[in-house]
Amino acid sequence: MRGLVTASCLWLVTLCLPASVQAQSAPPVVAAASDLQFALTEAAERFEQQSGHALRLNFGSSGNFRRQIAQGAPFELYLSADESYVLALHQEGHVQDEGVIYAIGRLAWLQSPGTAELDEDNPLAAVEQALAAHQAGERQRIALANPEHAPYGVAAKEVLEHAGLWEATADLHILGENVSQAAQYALSDDVSGGLVAYSLALAPALEARSEHLLIPESWHNPLRQRMVLTNQAGEVAEQFYQWLQQDTGRAILSDYGFVVPQ
């Protein structure tokens, strides 16, 4: 019994020790908008194959990351879906410079297969259908990211406003904390679909269980996505930052439906 106690105490001590040691030698932490969930995961894998350096990827809403960086979160590279967050952080002195635009995002209507007829001439036909059904007393929902802090939520709101459907559909909105969660809601029961990042609609993980329609880019302000190195950035983060702007990095982003600037 005594031996068991000693052994478990030793085990506990070893369990607790490496906490600080690990953190020091660990790969850099990257904070990325959730529309990059699949594209950046693939990019990071390729980068690791080529350079031998691993990265720790962290996906979430750009607005939340903007706040966390201002509060001192240990991110070395920040890829925002909205360039204004990067520019604001630069003004406050939390990042090295203004960064660069790495992609322009597109919006898509995403739904479970067969939920509604997809019509290229009227990408929001499914929304109109859901609204009509709702008015007829049926339970209907459409998903989007929270426009309060998620850039794709802002764009989704602009698209609905463009079509004159924002206020009419107010009762139908189900808001994701970020665009990835919105995509998840879009494909769940009792939800007609949602306005989410085109890059997510193209991801292999979603292909089999969804169908989508691209929204015209003139219906919302361009989603100019900017990335920047923070003041804590080390060598690996800087290499990855450069790598993303070169051919392989750009090709991966464009495979996932991003418009990549020249």
């Binding site: 660990a26 932490v29 998840q184």
Partner: protein, 223 residues
């Protein structure tokens, strides 16, 4: 598939929370059970508060208190050179606060259940208060200690909101298993989420089961 780093963060967090909170729980639980002082109700309410506060509210206040603009955060940064938010130390402190009721309340109830004449008899036999604690009280509150351990351990493993607010889900540092499950769901990786959920469920169930089993055996022996 399985996020081993997240499992390790979760276990480290749960073990450290228990190691720090249990001695504190014995001291505070005993004080709340025996000491009659002004404002005792106030302290009991304070201890119980994390039980009813939404994790977002607790997380929000801790996030503010840990920031470098706040006295606590500024003090910490000046002594240790790094901030508390988005660090393992930060989520550990948050976990200590969130678990106060789980560590203290079962121990306090156990102390309250010791008959007063038993402690008086111990004093009459010449045992010092310290000896009374070691030889009489602690063996009697043992089941309370065990359930405080089980609840604190399992609750730390399952804690989500507070850790997410203060820690921000950083791989291998503040991303616990509960948060990794949430992240995998957002990546449409249900298989990994299901596997990690099963691990979390098993560890929690085994912890509580083993501890309640031990406490039950104890009760029969002494009953």
């Amino acid at each position: 598939m399985m996020d081993w780093a997240a499992l390790s963060v979760s276990l480290r967090l749960a073990v450290l929370t228990c190691l720090i909170l249990l001695p504190l729980g014995i001291w505070a639980g005993r004080a709340l059970a025996y000491a009659r002082f002004k404002g005792r109700g106030f302290f009991e309410a304070l201890v119980a508060l994390p039980l009813v506060l939404p994790p977002t509210v607790l997380g929000f206040y801790l996030l503010m208190a840990f920031s470098r603009d706040a006295p606590l955060g500024a003090f910490w940064a000046s002594v240790f050179g790094s901030g508390l938010n988005f660090t393992f130390t930060g989520i550990l402190l948050a976990s200590l606060v969130a678990n106060l009721p789980f560590a203290i309340q079962p121990i306090q109830r156990a102390f309250e259940n010791i008959p007063a004449n038993l402690r008086e008899a111990a004093w009459c036999s010449g045992l010092s208060p310290w000896q009374t604690l070691w030889r009489i009280e602690l063996p009697l509150v043992w089941p309370g200690l065990l359930s405080a351990f089980a609840l604190t351990f399992a609750h730390t493993l399952g804690e989500f909101g507070v850790v997410l607010m203060v820690g921000g889900s950083i791989d291998a540092e503040t991303r616990t298993l509960a948060i990794a499950i949430y992240d995998r769901m957002q990546a449409f990786d249900e298989a990994a989420a299901a596997l990690m959920s099963a691990v979390l469920l098993s560890v929690s169930f085994i912890t509580i089961g083993v501890v309640y089993g031990l406490a039950g055996r104890r009760r029969r022996v002494h009953g």
